[in-house]
């Protein structure tokens, strides 16, 4: 019976997520149509400027995007197209948006993944240690550094790192990302060190604070005293009893943080270090007025965030036995 409840919950959650997706798409559409000198027009102008026969292209685009149809029809077309995987054509790179994304998503993915691994593991460890040794020098130091970490604007940190390690400073790391490197190579990893530090530092500082407060919340709980009264060694008390309870809010916060902080940070980091991820592509597209790219990447950002929240929700229900599925 418990399993059925879980499945029902997942299904309900999926339906909800689908609705939110629709909402997200609608809001995007709404924003596009409401804007002045709609980017569609600029897009149109750009596209037609690149061909010999503007009128044909204009006609094709109008037919494709249904620009002369009433709004609700445009909306339906829009949604249907998205669902079918037809995400438009990027004239600045002369390929379908879908293909553009397929080429570049991996760079964003590796940056974000590595940064999260780095910041989550270090952050949680420092947070735990800091909580256990509350009020000692280590704790104050860690808290101080985490304040600094969350206050440094990450794009400035990136520039400072470049300053430090580029020609005028130490020459340890190459500063601009070399796309020629094979993905699973050590050289690639080395090239990602500075970007990961840039993106990860702020995140790590945040995670340290969350982990510390989550552990502290649980340290004074009664069941910890019970565990000690059983004669369990301190490392088991903390490592098993406290940790297992603290991990719930920590994971939740880390995953929900993703859409807020991480994507924006990754966007900036890619631009500074020249990493050709989705953020940078979108950025280039903005200045080229290549709006299908911009729209799609914004949507992708929202959808990935949604998926992450969904997965986190479900994982949370598995981890916390107190949650009832009905």
């Amino acid at each position: 019976m418990k399993q059925g409840g879980l499945r029902g919950y997942i299904i309900r959650r999926l339906i909800y997520a689908a609705l939110i997706t629709l909402g997200v798409v609608t809001v995007t559409f709404f924003l596009l149509r409401v804007g002045p000198s709609s980017p569609a027009d600029k897009y149109l102008a750009n596209m037609s400027a690149r061909t010999q026969d503007p009128s044909q292209v204009i006609a094709a685009i109008e037919a494709r995007y249904g620009l002369d149809e009433p709004i609700y029809e445009q909306y339906i077309d829009y949604v249907v197209n998205l669902a079918r995987g037809d995400w438009g054509w990027s004239f600045s790179t002369s390929m379908p948006v879908m293909k553009l994304i397929q080429r570049h998503w991996i760079y964003s993915f590796q940056l974000i993944l590595l940064s999260m691994l780095f910041s989550a593991s270090l952050g949680i460890l420092i947070g735990i240690y800091s909580a256990i040794k509350q009020y000692t020098k280590v704790d104050y130091l860690a808290t101080f550094f985490s304040f600094i970490g969350i206050s440094i604007p990450n794009f400035w940190l990136g520039i400072m790192l470049i300053l430090l390690f580029s020609g005028t400073g130490l020459g340890w790391f190459k500063v601009y990302y070399d796309t020629g490197l094979p993905l699973f190579s050590l050289a690639n990893l080395k090239a990602l060190v500075l970007p990961v530090i840039t993106l990860g530092t702020g995140m790590m500082a945040g995670y340290t604070r969350y982990a510390r407060s989550a552990i502290l919340d649980n340290l004074r709980k009664d069941f910890v005293r019970t565990a000690r009264a059983k004669g369990l060694p301190e490392r088991v008390v903390i490592g098993k009893h406290v940790f297992r309870n603290a991990i719930l809010p920590i994971i939740t916060i880390i995953m929900f943080d993703l859409s807020g902080v991480v994507f924006g940070g990754a966007y900036l980091t890619e631009i500074i270090f020249g990493i050709p991820g989705l953020g940078r592509i979108s950025f280039n597209a903005i200045f080229a007025n290549d709006y299908p790219v911009v729209v799609t990447i914004t949507l992708i950002g929202a959808l990935v965030a949604l998926l992450t929240n969904l997965v986190t929700d479900i994982v949370y229900t598995r981890l916390d036995p107190r949650i009832r599925y009905d």
């Binding site: 004669g231 369990l232 916390d320």
Partner: protein, 338 residues
């Protein structure tokens, strides 16, 4: 005739807070015999829980600290033994259960896991055997369908059942001493009675020594071999149930007994003890009860009263019974009891 298995001497546990030093336990000593059910009784804040926690050194170390005293168990002073030795004793030879079973059980682990944890640790059993034993213990304390329910989580049990789980866990390694800190306080009356039955059974059938802490005099009356009444971090009086209920000597104890509602009595008002619990940061000089005491003597606000054995095991800590007081003072005391 010394089958005292636990001897506590001059125990002092203070809490160092930003508002001052709270003298939660200020010079307490007593003994526990094999198979004896010893009850620590007193109002909230009188230090009884702190004593219990101090025995196993479970005091939260900032802000609390055991600053003095000895706790003798099988020839060693637990307050000065090594961490390793202490952990061998905890849960194994001296076990403890706490007041609120809801918060004392870890919500994310199954009940079976939590009962079996000690078994694996102290008895070295493998998981399967430990779980067998755990389920046996749970049956023993009266949890129906123990086998299946082992896989359940604490929140799926009622208050009384949770407390039984805790008891099962505490008993799992056959401890010599069981310390129970207000085990029935958070439970309904009917459940209270059932849990108390378990304790009675433990004493009779297993010859287990129990240190039972409560503020409820009624509970105490039915199971105690010996009662210690505490006030303000110190002992006021100690004796058998008969001594305490029938012939209380300490003015505080007398006040407590007088407070008990009695249907048969011809009174229409309860008689509370006037005044308030003293601040443990700046306790009154001399006898800690003296500001509220109706029979205080001048010496009470100057010197700490001596411990006097009135008869057999009946102990009173009061100047009225010291050599300095006159028989007349004492007589008035005995007549005052209702």
């Amino acid at each position: 005739m010394n089958n005292n298995i636990l001897e506590i001497k001059h125990l002092k546990t203070y809490f160092f807070t930003s508002r001052g030093v709270v003298k939660a336990v200020d010079g307490v000593g007593f003994s526990l015999r094999k198979g004896q059910n010893l009850c620590l009784v007193g109002e909230s804040g009188c230090g009884k829980t702190t004593i219990a926690l101090s025995i196993l050194r479970l005091i939260d170390s900032p802000p609390g600290k055991i600053i003095g005293g000895e706790v003798w168990y099988h020839g060693e002073d637990l307050l000065h033994s090594s961490g390793k030795r202490l952990r061998q004793i905890r849960g194994n030879q001296i076990a403890m259960i706490f007041q609120d079973p809801q918060s004392s059980l870890n919500p994310v682990f199954t009940v079976g896991d939590q009962v079996a944890e000690q078994i694996k640790l102290h008895l070295g059993l493998k998981r399967k055997q430990a779980m067998e034993r755990a389920s046996y213990l749970m049956e023993q304390v009266g949890i129906p369908r123990a086998r299946e329910r082992m896989k359940d989580y604490p929140h799926q049990f009622s208050g009384g059942m949770k407390q039984r789980v805790m008891i099962a866990a505490a008993l799992s390694c056959n401890p010599e001493i069981l310390i129970a800190d207000e085990p029935t306080t958070a439970l309904d009356t009917t459940i209270k009675a059932q849990i108390l039955d378990i304790f009675r059974d433990l004493k009779q059938n297993r010859d287990m020594s129990i240190l039972f802490i409560t503020h409820d005099l009624g509970t105490v009356a039915s199971i105690a071999d010996r009662i210690i009444v505490m006030y303000g971090g110190r002992i006021a009086e100690a004796g058998t149930a008969f001594d305490i209920f029938d012939q209380p000597q300490h003015p505080y104890t007398q006040g407590l007994i007088a407070c008990l509602p009695d249907i048969s009595a011809q009174r229409d008002r309860l008689t509370p003890i006037p005044g308030m619990i003293p601040s443990l940061i700046n306790p009154p000089v001399g006898c800690i009860f003296n500001p509220r005491c109706e029979r205080r003597l001048p010496i009470c606000s100057k010197e700490i009263p001596p411990e006097v054995f009135i008869s057999g095991e009946h102990l009173v800590v009061c100047h009225l019974y010291s050599p300095l007081a006159s028989p007349q003072d004492r007589r008035e005391g005995i007549n005052n009891v209702d």
